[in-house]
């Protein structure tokens, strides 16, 4: 499983951080950081984050 974030679309709403705090985080400079290849056990959290993204910028591959 791979988490892809289209940073052209991302407008830093932060909904992914609420839905999946173990996978997404804001860095001190405000930029988005995420775990690109999480464990399979995190799949639901990754999908939840993709679902609530207002810009639909998150795609889960694999």
């Amino acid at each position: 499983m791979k988490i892809c974030v289209d940073l052209e679309k991302c407008k830093l709403h932060g909904q992914c951080i609420i839905a999946a705090p173990d996978l997404f985080v804001f860095e001190a400079d405000g930029s988005l950081h995420w775990i690109e290849q999480p464990e399979e056990t995190q799949r639901q959290a990754a999908l939840d984050a993709a679902d609530v993204c207002p810009e639909q910028a998150i795609v889960i591959e694999g």
């Binding site: 709403h13 932060g14 909904q15 951080i17 609420i18 405000g30 679902d51 609530v52």
Partner: protein, 406 residues
Amino acid sequence: MARGALIVGASLSGLRLAEQLRALGYTGPMTVAGAEAHMPYNRPPLSKDVLFEDASADPLTRLTFNIRPSLSDVTWQLGSPAEASDLQRRVVTLANGRDLNYDVLGIATGLTPRRLPLSGGEENRHVVRTIEDAVRLKAALLPGARVVVAGGGFIGCEVAASAVKRGCIVTIVEPLPLPMGRAIGQDLASAIKAFHEAHGVTFRLNTTITGLVCDPTKSMHLQAVTLSDGGELHADVLIEAVGSVCNTGWLAGNGLDLSDGLLTDNALRVEGRADVAAAGDVARFPNPRYGHTPRRVEHWAIPALTAKRAAQSLAEKLLGREPATKAFDPIPTFWSDQFGMRIQSIGMPGLADRTQLIEGELTSLGQPDKGLAMGYWLGDALIGAIAIGMPSAKLSEYRTMLTTQG
């Protein structure tokens, strides 16, 4: 006709319901029926960037939701709204006459914009709910056009800001003393009103639209609106942002409580029926986090969250799954973009009896790098926060405050 799962409503909530049923292991037949001719698409941009961006691409291409592989065998019945239903016989009838049978029914039919109870001027009157609405409105938002927005709620303020960006001359007519006042409280509403005024929006508050003045030879053509204070506003465009009505007419005759959306229990089951659940804007459910009163919540995160819970309820019936025991107590969140200023809300600020600034200053609202946040209390409990121009990391910080207290 195959039975199995039928989801009525093919927007965000219907899509999420379908996905969640598959995620829970349901592999049987599934039909999603929708009033609009399109596959599910993302609506929030319709009142925002779709209206003011000079995009060459078809907005529908950009806004259509990604469809997961798990939904590849779903039957989509699009372009015809549900017209009637018989929950005893487990059948839904679409406006095109087609009968759809089901074993479990997911209801996600959402809202239709409320219209002003006035006739005439149809050519120049607009709402914003569908992609067609937005495309039609954008074409009317010509530089110099005089735009009257009926209703100063979030949608009204967003479309007003979008129209100003298009070069229109914009007036918001709002019956209450402040725009968005009920949702965000007086202090913040006053500051946002001043911010809008500084960008060129005119407010006519404590005022309603009482009549439409139309071309005497062509009643479809609007010329002006008359106001409750005796005034009149020239109107090339009238945008009606006066709330919504729930699309529940097709459920009439089943003995359901349809007084405000569709009443459900905490697990989103409709009146205790094991085979019917609701999700999204239309679902009126009790949230133990905010007392016993069932409420509809038209906030961004609610479709995904209610769809997840509703799917669990339907999976109990479909797959014989154990009932979920944990109470469903979602924390709503939504955002609004107005003149490049981002407003982010978490919790239920509208239920508060007291507000207090928790960060920044109201006078700096809208200034770059000067964010602020308002806290909302009901009794001693912090029940919501609204951040404006703050880094989004703050939102999760406030969320932690909402969940960890008391």
